[in-house]
């Protein structure tokens, strides 16, 4: 048994997945857990989950694991939160979507639309006489890259969506939810990924 737990000290991107009831005010309750500690939320997405009535938040922050673990516990403590997971980028499949609006005439004069689309994995969502709207979906580098490409052509407007992520080793929430609905939940429901990973401490 040891108390020396080597924790990576450096900050990195963490993806926090929160399963919740669909309740007004919960977004604020979760957001203030970050703002209270002066932690910036890099990306926040709310969406339905695989289960009707259960919502899912995807939150991205740049922090150390120690901080993320404490935040996850504080979020999970909220009455209407069912479960919180956190993962590094390596543990998830993630995507962000971006839209770019550029003037049609300059694109037509100076670059081939076809080349832009092909090289950047983009597609044209709208082509009008005055402007074209491109769309890409991918990792941050990919969506950032097209900004650089389009900037010389007079990028009029750019917007990127929040990150959505699927957890690689997740079996979904259906089975867990049934446990939650029981009055006497199994151990499974209260498991905490962090504690279970602390092998030295929690398994002898």
């Amino acid at each position: 048994m040891s108390t020396e737990e080597t924790m990576p000290e450096g900050k990195q991107e963490y993806n926090i997945t929160v399963y919740t009831e669909n309740q007004i005010g919960l977004l604020n309750r979760i957001a203030i857990i970050f703002t209270r500690r002066k932690i910036n939320i890099d990306s926040l997405n709310t969406s339905p989950s695989e289960i009707e009535s259960i919502h899912r938040f995807n939150i991205v922050i740049n922090e150390t694991e120690d901080v993320v673990r404490k935040l996850a516990r504080q979020i999970e403590k909220q009455v209407e939160v069912l479960k919180v997971y956190y993962h590094t980028n390596a543990d998830i499949i993630w995507q962000e979507m971006a839209l770019y609006k550029v003037p049609a005439d300059i694109i037509a004069e100076k670059a081939s639309v076809e080349r832009l689309l092909r090289e950047n994995g983009a597609r044209a969502v709208v082509i009008r006489k005055d402007y074209i709207v491109f769309e890409t979906t991918g990792h941050r580098e990919e969506t950032d890259n097209l900004i650089n490409v389009l900037q010389p052509f007079g990028l009029i407007e750019f917007v990127r969506s929040a990150r959505i992520a699927i957890i690689k080793d997740s079996e979904g929430f259906n089975r867990k939810l049934r446990e939650f609905e029981k009055r006497e939940p199994g151990e499974d429901v209260i498991e905490n990924e962090y504690l279970n990973q602390r092998d030295k401490v929690f398994t002898m």
């Binding site: 007004i24 005010g25 999970e76 009455v79 069912l82 429901v189 929690f202 002898m204």
Partner: protein, 579 residues
């Protein structure tokens, strides 16, 4: 906590449907929840509830306070002395915002409260209507849960959830904001069923026996084990289980100011108070023990001092009901999640019967040093002005440790907690986490309603008393019997002490003037007395305690006395100063 069941209202088969207003349904719900006392203040947006209350006067004792902050502190005092949920009513806007300090206090000190606030009509929400504030968003960070009701049909379920959430798991304050239309609206009331399950809410983590076994093994191998206990023992009603555990394991135990009273002050294994102004031994020996067992406490910075020099040599076992507390401030070796009422007996079963005589003697030796350097002079000064400690010590001799002691915040609070004698649980009521000056007077009123058979003494400084002294009006009108003991040092003493020690005696705005408190009390029809001489002390305390009804005793104490020992901010607990 027991819930009174009303068969007619709760029997699912024979459901009777009664048409009633949202307000009446709220009061019916309170009755089923066993509420007997409400602290509140009416106003425009909560008028329908007060109108309904007119017909419930016989069943629900409503105490009209003088300010909503007084109302919520009274609710806290009630909850803390009785172990039940405190109930508070306030109107919208300023009524609701005046609750915020009390909510924050209850949140950090885990006090179960259900606060009902009136709100403007639902169709006016967001229009900057008269007395409209966004109460839900203002109170979100300082409540365990809050909810806005805009339709009477929501009331039974919202109230049921509120009580369930407030009192279960780690307790806390809940606020229900009810729009005026929902209070007036008639609906089909199908009876009130208390809540006992919310699928997204796990009040207690499941106890895992393997961690209990690990903890027991660590304890059994320990040579110098040390227990720290907090309010969790009281909140879990686990005083007996705690006593059995320490008595079998023979481990010395020290308390946080929220936990004091779980075992009597003079229990041989009770080695004293932790923290910044705690006892010498418990602080120094925290950095000497080999196993630290924390039970229902949260390693507040006022307890730990400098964290990177806190008990680094020790293995740490932490028993707590709130998983978010584990590893929050101090890294644990073994975490025992769960309600200590369940986990302590399991642990007691596995620990060996022991006596740590030598180790305990070390605490005694530090006690002797502290008595010599600090305590004797504080409790038994022969000359000069009276000291705060001396007053508390004399009070002990008269109450014999059976009174409920409510303290405010500052020097007198530390002195009160250090020296007051407690024989019983739930008899020290103080604002521990938030440090809310002005807490004591209203909290004492609530504490008396929650423990009618006890003598309630509010020990208050001259500064804190002036923050909520309007509640003397509540005492006058309700006739509640509260003994008010003002320790007047003509200073905001704790800030002055810090300015003396750390700011080169630059006394910046700590010199506070006070009115003639006895005259003020007299204006409210409350008897009082002010003393400045030692030879009057005992007889005056006696007079206060024996007086029928409330009594205010003001005692002039030394102006520039410091509370010692002290762990200066930024220092380790073992760097505690005796002077």
């Amino acid at each position: 906590m027991e819930v009174a069941q009303q068969d007619v209202l709760t029997a699912p088969e024979a459901q009777t449907v009664t048409e009633m207003t949202g307000s009446a349904a709220l009061l019916e719900a309170l009755l089923v929840e066993g509420v007997d006392t409400i602290f509140g203040y009416p106003g425009g947006a909560i008028m329908p509830i007060y109108d309904a209350l007119y017909d419930y006067k016989e069943k629900l004792n409503h105490i009209l306070v003088r300010h909503e902050q007084g109302g919520i502190h009274a609710g806290q005092g009630y909850a803390r002395s009785s172990g039940k949920v405190g109930v508070v009513f306030a109107t919208s806007g300023p009524g609701a915002t005046n609750l915020v300090t009390g909510l924050a206090d209850a949140q950090i000190d885990s006090t179960p409260l259900v606060c009902i606030t009136g709100q403007v009509f639902a169709h006016l929400l967001g229009t900057d209507a008269f007395q409209e504030t966004d109460v839900i968003n203002i109170t979100t960070p300082v409540t365990k849960w809050n909810y806005q009701v805009t339709d009477a049909n929501e009331i039974p379920e919202a109230i049921a959830k509120a009580f369930y959430i407030a009192r279960t798991g780690r307790p806390g304050p809940v606020l229900i904001d009810i729009t005026k239309n929902a209070q007036i609206q008639k609906f089909d009331f199908k009876g009130y069923t208390p809540c006992n399950h919310i699928r997204s809410y796990r009040p207690k983590p499941i106890v895992r026996p393997q961690f209990i076994e690990q903890a027991a093994q660590v304890i059994n191998e320990a040579k110098k084990p040390f227990i720290l206990w907090g309010q969790g023992v009281l909140l879990g009603s686990a005083e007996q289980e705690f006593k059995a555990f320490i008595e079998k394991s023979g481990i010395p135990a020290a308390w946080t100011i929220m936990g004091v009273g779980a075992i009597p002050t003079d229990h041989p294994l009770n080695v004293g108070m932790l923290g910044m102004h705690g006892n010498y031994g418990p602080n120094v020996l925290t950095n000497d023990c080999d196993v630290l067992i924390a039970i229902g406490m949260r390693f507040d910075d006022r307890v730990t001092g400098r964290l990177d020099k806190y008990a680094k040599q020790a293995k740490v076992i932490h028993l707590d009901i709130d998983p978010a507390e584990i590893d929050k401030n101090v890294q644990t070796t073994v975490a025992v999640w769960g309600d200590c009422k369940e986990t302590l007996p399991m642990l007691t079963e596995l620990v060996e019967q022991k006596q740590h005589t030598e180790w305990l003697a070390k605490f005694k030796e530090y006690t002797r040093q502290e008595e010599e350097a600090v305590i004797n002079a504080e409790l038994r000064p022969q000359t000069g002005e009276m000291t705060m400690g001396e007053v508390v010590d004399q009070l002990n001799q008269l109450t014999n440790g059976d009174a409920v002691i409510v303290t405010d915040v500052g020097q007198h609070q530390m002195v009160g907690c250090r020296y007051a004698k407690f024989n019983n649980t739930r008899s020290n009521i103080t604002s521990g986490g938030l440090g809310t000056m002005g807490f004591a007077l209203p909290a004492a009123i609530g504490a008396k309603f929650g423990a009618q058979d006890k003598t309630v003494v509010a020990i208050i400084g001259d500064g804190g008393f002036q923050m909520t002294l309007q509640e003397l009006g509540t005492i006058m009108q309700s006739g509640v019997d509260v003994k008010i003991l003002i320790l007047n040092n003509r200073f905001l003493g704790m800030v002055r002490q810090w300015q003396e020690l750390f700011n080169e005696r630059r006394y910046s705005f700590v010199d506070i003037q006070s009115p003639d408190f006895v005259q003020v009390a007299k204006g409210y029809g409350i008897a009082g007395k002010c003393i400045k001489e030692r030879d009057e002390l005992q007889s005056s305390l006696k007079e206060m305690l024996e007086h029928k009804g409330s009594f205010l005793l003001e005692v002039f104490v030394t102006k520039e006395n410091n509370v010692f020992p002290m762990v200066p901010q930024g220092c380790s607990v073992s760097e505690i100063r005796l002077k």
